[in-house]
């Protein structure tokens, strides 16, 4: 018998319990032993819940119980989640989680503790919800040098941008709709400012490179400056605007960035609509691959957690090795980040700004009024930012262009 303790009975935690119940035959068969939930930790009461007898309020009961093999951390937040995870691992219990904040902040330390205590720390559900992406990275792509990772990693913003694209809505209107549907929180900052995507690309890049990438070192721009007219320009370019988290290995240095991008309809990422997520991985041998699915949602996220539970169950007393080590990745400076930019500029400054950046293509839309758009030559980030600063009164907005080949 494999005994699981679930910490936190919110959306994700209750989803995990539901899957262990509903698909118990599959879960137990794959684990080679019956899997059952022994405790559910939550400060709230759930009278009438079919698992009423399992609820506890003191996490010590879990960490002290030698019968518990695997702990699901579905608490959210950082401090308590980190503390409980650490204690569980120190007691030799494997921990699985969808908590990207804890993974991005403390992942490499927790992996080390797991190893020292012959148990595992797994977090497939922390990136891309139900999409199998971390396990393929460390089981199917070990033979590859990972050259690049490009992801639509946040379902909320992808829902919003898709609506703006398909229905010509305004930013404020789609944000309200996303909040009404429960996709966006009342304080939507973590999503719309790109913080969530930033932690996810940090985790992906750490796994892909085997080195630690601190999310704090990744420039992160959200979608709050994106408006209706940007999509009109995008259509002219055969593109759509997507919030991407991306990283590239450039001669052993790491270029990483979270920002809205113009994504051409030639890219498989173009067709990723609504709350779906997708991650493209480029290996030096396999070329481009893409993994697509529900990036959030109760059962999709819980499914990824249960896949980790099964992996832990099959490896009781052992550590499932993770390529992410504590050596720090060398982050490339801005002179090595090269993009083409779509730029909207006041008409009177067009000549000056387009000359400074180099111009590949002019783009006009009917509703432009006093502005004009163009696509710049490829230019390094430091030069672009300098030009932007020098012309802060005349550059209205800019969006990087995803290089489909790179």
């Amino acid at each position: 018998m494999i005994r699981v303790a679930v910490m936190g009975y919110g959306t994700v935690g209750s989803g995990v319990v539901e899957i262990i119940d509903r698909n118990n035959k599959e879960v137990s068969a794959a684990s080679k032993d019956e899997v059952s939930v022994k405790y559910i930790l939550d400060l709230r009461d759930f009278p009438g819940d079919p698992h009423e007898g399992l609820f506890i309020k003191d996490y010590k009961i879990i960490t002290d119980d030698p019968e518990v093999d695997i702990v699901v951390e579905a608490l959210g937040g950082i401090e308590l989640a980190y503390k409980f995870t650490k204690e569980a691992l120190l007691n030799g219990k494997s921990v699985v989680t969808s908590n990207k904040a804890v993974v991005a902040e403390h992942g490499v330390e927790l992996l080390k503790i797991a190893k020292e205590n012959n148990c595992s720390y797994l977090f497939e559900a922390s990136v891309g919800g139900g999409i199998p992406i971390l396990r393929p990275l460390y089981t199917s792509f070990c033979q590859e040098k990972i050259e690049g990772i490009t992801g639509i990693l946040n379902g909320t913003t992808n829902f919003m941008l898709t609506k703006m694209d398909e229905e010509g809505c305004d930013y404020d209107a789609v944000l309200k709709e996303a909040q009404a549907k429960g996709y966006a929180e009342q304080n939507p900052e973590a999503d719309v400012c790109g913080h969530d995507a930033c932690r996810k690309i940090a985790i992906l890049t750490s796994l892909g490179s085997g080195k630690t990438v601190h999310y704090q070192n990744i420039r992160t721009e959200g979608i709050t400056n994106i408006s209706k007219i940007d999509f009109e320009y995008a259509k002219k370019l055969g593109s759509s605007v997507k919030l991407l988290g991306l990283s590239r290995d450039v001669n052993g240095e790491c270029v990483a960035l979270v920002a809205p991008f113009m994504v051409s309809d030639k890219s498989p990422l173009y067709a990723v609509r609504g709350v779906f997520n997708a991650v493209m991985v480029r290996g030096n041998m396999v070329g481009d691959t893409l993994f697509y699915g529900q990036g959030a949602g109760k059962l999709a996220t819980a499914s990824a957690i249960v896949s980790d539970i099964i992996d832990c169950a099959k490896n009781i007393g052992k550590t499932i090795e993770c390529p992410w080590k504590d050596e720090e990745a060398v982050m490339a400076d801005d002179s090595k980040k090269v993009f083409s930019y779509f730029v909207r500029v006041k008409k009177e400054a067009f000549d000056e700004v387009s000359k400074a950046l180099g111009i590949k293509e002019k783009v006009s839309v009917e509703s432009a009024g006093d502005e004009t758009g163009f696509v710049s030559e490829k230019i390094s980030e430091d030069k672009f930012l300098k030009t932007k600063e020098d012309n802060s009164n005349s550059i209205i907005n800019y969006i990087r262009i995803l290089d489909v080949e790179g």
Copy 2:
């Protein structure tokens, strides 16, 4: 030291040797031991090849050498490949392959022999080339009941259909181009008649269901009846024509089919162009996921083989378990296969045929001449085939419609 023997030094076999050379650091690190090629079996000579000293012509040298841990079967064909694989497994050597014909024909038997001899038989590269799809099925989706698998599994036909769609080419012209580019063989039957896709969906479904699905029991229709005008109709329907291999679990019975389908631009499969492959997997918990990448090509296919080599290397003396068992899947009869059909019919027979099948939507294109098109109601396969037979002189062509929801 992990010693590998490569049987067959064609495109795939030489690709495997190349990856073990070029990415040796990654391959050996992941394997926790140095990986090297000890023998290359090929009846041809390769004078001047950097591995000249490794070539042998007698497979017995491999099966008799206790130092060889892992054998790559990249011979192609069935009989010899099967015989050599079996002998290697009987001698406790793990075998990895991209040979879908052998896997579809003898997979379950070879898996059993591997288990009895404490070694492994892996075949990630047999489906979807470089796309990690089999390993995710048996490591990331064990907790799922797999409800459906839908794949663009053959790069040659997808290249041809994409050309017909995008450039309005004729079937004969694109076949010639595919042959000139080396995508299609001089005898293109295995690709264009769907036999290749059939073996792949049989393998996928066997892994997804855990039961044996015989490829011989899967109705297989190729793309030889698809012509330019079908794409004109498809455009009117917001669709494209794709050759799909699909399977569905319908109350414990297996519906499986290989055929051209109308795929709506709402489906993520719509955007899969050219030689790329993609596999959608629907789990009862995780919902729809999609795996996309290069379905063929030297290094992509070899990359998947090397991922299997690493897995075997990490499990020397043990068997990597595969969910595919020898219990046979119950195949649904035609009364349980339900699709909508796009049908082209002679104008004078439209009333009769559309009445027999039920009509959802009439579709007209300018170049139609004496025919007209329509979309039928959902109808079971047996009823459809009966109507088709009764109207064989007036039904010009038909294409099933992929239900994006199902």
